[in-house]
């Protein structure tokens, strides 16, 4: 036997209780990540009449509907920010989160035929889904920026950009990791119990009411603040609007809580997904 028989390149072991993540291997598959992101974009808009315009239309329609309902009908105040701008900021972050989760949670069922035939680190699929939603979010932010500049320069609305704009990339990153974390947990659960998928999508829809998407957090009654504040998206959205408009207030402790909750969610997600991934093909 030659001397180099000891240096194996890879090893297949029984499923362990910890996720089996090899960073070097993930790096080798970076082209696949980008390919999946590209595929998502091409596939979503090929054979649609309006094509990529949908990226703009969806948040615009949502914003208009919120404006009609919450401003015109219920007259909910928006911290002296023009309501359209206020809603749009909430909508882009919220849809980034909810779309990422909606895409990630059925990952094992949607990819069963590929997963049962060929190996690649499974985490690549959820990661690429988040990246693809992130690109979408980035494009929507351009629209938000356009509307923002319009209000600042043309309408002379008293919204003041401030130094905390520098915080925005961090907030986006936190949102991305939080979405990925929740998505991974849901994917792991949905792999075993299909009804989790329906249940969770319903829960996500309800969660929107517990997130300051179409109302400012300042409007929340004192006694419910703690409860609603537990939602990690709440401080993220509040900070996002504070950085953009200079209204509301920036509660650092609350934001740190949001980041800590994100880290915990992400780690739990990695472990859950990593455990399920190893033998899921025998059950799906």
């Amino acid at each position: 036997m030659s001397p180099d028989t000891k240096d194996w390149l890879w090893e297949i072991k029984p499923a362990g209780s910890l996720p089996d993540i090899k960073p070097a291997e993930l790096l080798r598959y970076k082209d696949l990540v980008m390919r999946f992101v590209k595929r998502d974009h091409i596939v979503s808009y090929r054979q649609t009449v309006l094509g990529p315009l949908w990226v703009f239309l969806e948040p615009l329609i949502a914003t208009y509907v919120y404006f009609m309902i919450f401003t015109r009908i219920f007259n909910i105040p928006t911290d002296n920010v023009p309501p359209q701008l206020f809603f749009l900021a909430g909508v882009v972050i919220w849809s980034f989160f909810s779309e990422a989760i909606g895409a990630i949670s059925p990952v094992f069922h949607h990819n069963a035929s590929v997963f049962s035939k060929v190996y690649f680190p499974r985490i690549i699929v959820p990661v690429s889904l988040v990246l693809s939603k992130l690109t979408r979010f980035g494009i929507q932010c351009l629209m938000l920026l356009a509307m923002y500049l319009y209000y600042v320069l043309v309408e002379k609305t008293p919204v003041r950009p401030n130094i905390y704009l520098l915080l925005v990339p961090v907030l986006v990153l936190v949102t991305a990791f939080f979405s990925l974390g929740v998505g991974l947990v849901m994917a792991a659960l949905a792999a075993r119990y299909r009804d989790v998928q329906n249940l969770m999508m319903f829960a996500i829809r309800l969660m929107m009411f517990a997130t300051p998407v179409f109302y400012p957090f300042s409007l929340v009654e004192e006694q419910y603040r703690f409860f609603l504040g537990l939602n990690p998206l709440t401080p993220i959205l509040e900070a996002f609007r504070y950085a953009l408009f200079g209204t509301g207030n920036l509660d650092w402790i609350h934001l740190l809580y949001g980041i800590a909750a994100t880290v915990v969610t992400f780690v739990v997600g990695l472990v859950a997904f990593g455990r399920v991934e190893q033998n899921v093909i025998d059950t799906v």
Binding site: S2, K13, R28, M34, V114, S116
Partner: protein
């Protein structure tokens, strides 16, 4: 020929739950978790690992693989054979890293790719070109590697004109060609070919065969080949593993392993009987009652030698009131070569039981393993039922007076009138 060890399989086990697999209800899973985590009991699944197969069966558990160990060296073409359910597919799934073993490890070097991955991840909305990249990346190539191979892949596929058309507009033939072309240009270190999964697509089979030839002729091309065709296994493989109920029962040269495999099949295959016409093989015209082999020198279990005369006998029910029937018999070697075909005279059969026999004379067949298939014909030319591989048998050699030690070549070894005599003698 044989280089370094490229794949090492150690004590591989895989346990499956039969039937309604672990899609186990939430309630059961929570109960198991409660027992383990809170009450600190043993994991019921862990405990099972040491028990016997029969006990497992009762619990709907099955060892798909049990203590499988072997190594593969660079350049080897290793055949894996066994009946359906012997564990071949499970082994391949573990080797291609799609699922994990329950116990044991596989260590390896180099990239493993399998032809059963053809077209994996193709998206029908994407164009041919986009799919080449997607498929290539999924199979583990970088985009740069695909760039380099792109022209070759498109060329080989023969779909250049449509390469920028979404593949949903492709014919199924074009689709397979493109998909295969990507897989064929992977250049893996270990190629896994599962022929059983590609049955039904003769074009694909031909292509994969050519690919195997190409890889195996290239220095260092290592192949794991799973097939039901003993002919293919015999002609490609340098070594063969026989699996039975998840265990390796033989690991040797193709000749030895294949003959053992066929031997194990043969035990059941010298006689086949059916008591119920509804469940017997056949069609709405005829149903098989019995086929069996009768060596002239004794009862059915007797050894057949090259000198033995063998009667192939069969009985079948004619379900039609009137049937103009004839029966054809094919004799194949186990490697799939047809030795001969012979046909009975037609019979105007009435409703009822029909019997027939065909005699293969002694001193005619070679020492080899043979397979018999029967074909039933209506009105002389319409084949109504093909009873494939209904009998297997071995023909043993006899040491005759001529001390010839090697095998006789040829499918048959007939004793023909052959004279040899002195014409004139110079001696005196």
């Amino acid at each position: 020929m044989t280089g370094n060890v490229i794949l090492e399989v150690n004590n591989l086990h895989k346990l499956y739950r039969l039937g309604a697999i672990s899609s186990g209800t939430l309630k059961k899973d929570i109960a198991r978790w409660w027992d383990m985590a809170v009450l600190k009991k043993e994991d019921p699944l862990q405990k099972i690992a040491g028990e016997e197969w029969q006990d497992l069966r009762k619990q709907n558990l099955l060892w798909a693989l049990h203590d499988v160990s072997f190594t593969v060296r660079e350049g080897e073409v290793l055949g894996i054979i066994g009946k359906n359910g012997a564990g071949k597919s499970t082994l391949l799934k573990i080797l291609s890293r799609v699922t994990r073993p329950t116990k044991g490890t596989v260590k390896g070097r180099g990239r493993v790719a399998s032809l059963l991955e053809v077209g994996t991840g193709f998206h029908e909305e994407l164009t041919g070109r986009e799919n080449i990249y997607l498929n290539g990346n999924i199979l583990g190539m970088t985009s740069k590697q695909v760039d380099k191979k792109l022209d070759e892949i498109i060329d080989f596929s023969g779909v250049e004109q449509y390469i920028d058309t979404p593949v949903k507009r492709y014919s199924s033939g074009m689709y397979v060609r493109l998909a295969f072309s990507v897989a064929a240009h992977l250049e893996p270190d270990v190629l896994i070919v599962d022929e059983a999964l590609s049955v039904g697509d003769s074009e694909f089979q031909k292509k994969s065969m050519n690919k195997i030839r190409e890889v195996s002729s290239k220095q260092g091309g290592t192949i794991l080949f799973v097939s039901h065709s003993m002919h293919a296994v015999q002609s490609f493989c340098s070594r063969v593993i026989l699996l039975e109920s998840g265990r390796i029962i033989n690991d040797n040269t193709p000749e030895k392993v294949i003959s053992q495999y066929l031997h194990s099949l043969q035990k059941k295959k010298r006689i086949q009987t059916y008591s119920n016409p509804d469940k017997a093989p056949g069609d709405n015209n005829i149903r098989i009652k019995k086929v069996y082999l009768q060596p002239e020198t004794g009862h059915a279990a007797e050894q057949v030698t090259v000198e033995t005369t063998v009667h192939v006998k069969f009985e079948f029910w004619n379900l039609q009131p009137q049937l103009d029937i004839s029966v054809g018999m094919y004799l194949f070697t186990v490697s799939g070569e047809c030795v001969f075909t012979t046909l009975s005279d037609p019979l105007k059969a009435e409703n009822g039981l029909v019997e027939g026999a065909c005699t293969i004379p002694g001193n005619f067949l070679n020492n080899d393993s043979y397979v018999i298939s029967l074909v039933f014909l209506k009105d002389i030319s319409d084949d109504i039922f093909y009873y494939e591989e209904c009998l297997f048998f071995d023909v043993e050699d006899v040491q005759g007076e001529h001390k010839w030690y090697g095998n006789f070549s040829g499918y048959v070894r007939p004793k023909l009138p052959f004279t040899l005599s002195m014409k004139t003698s110079n001696g005196g």
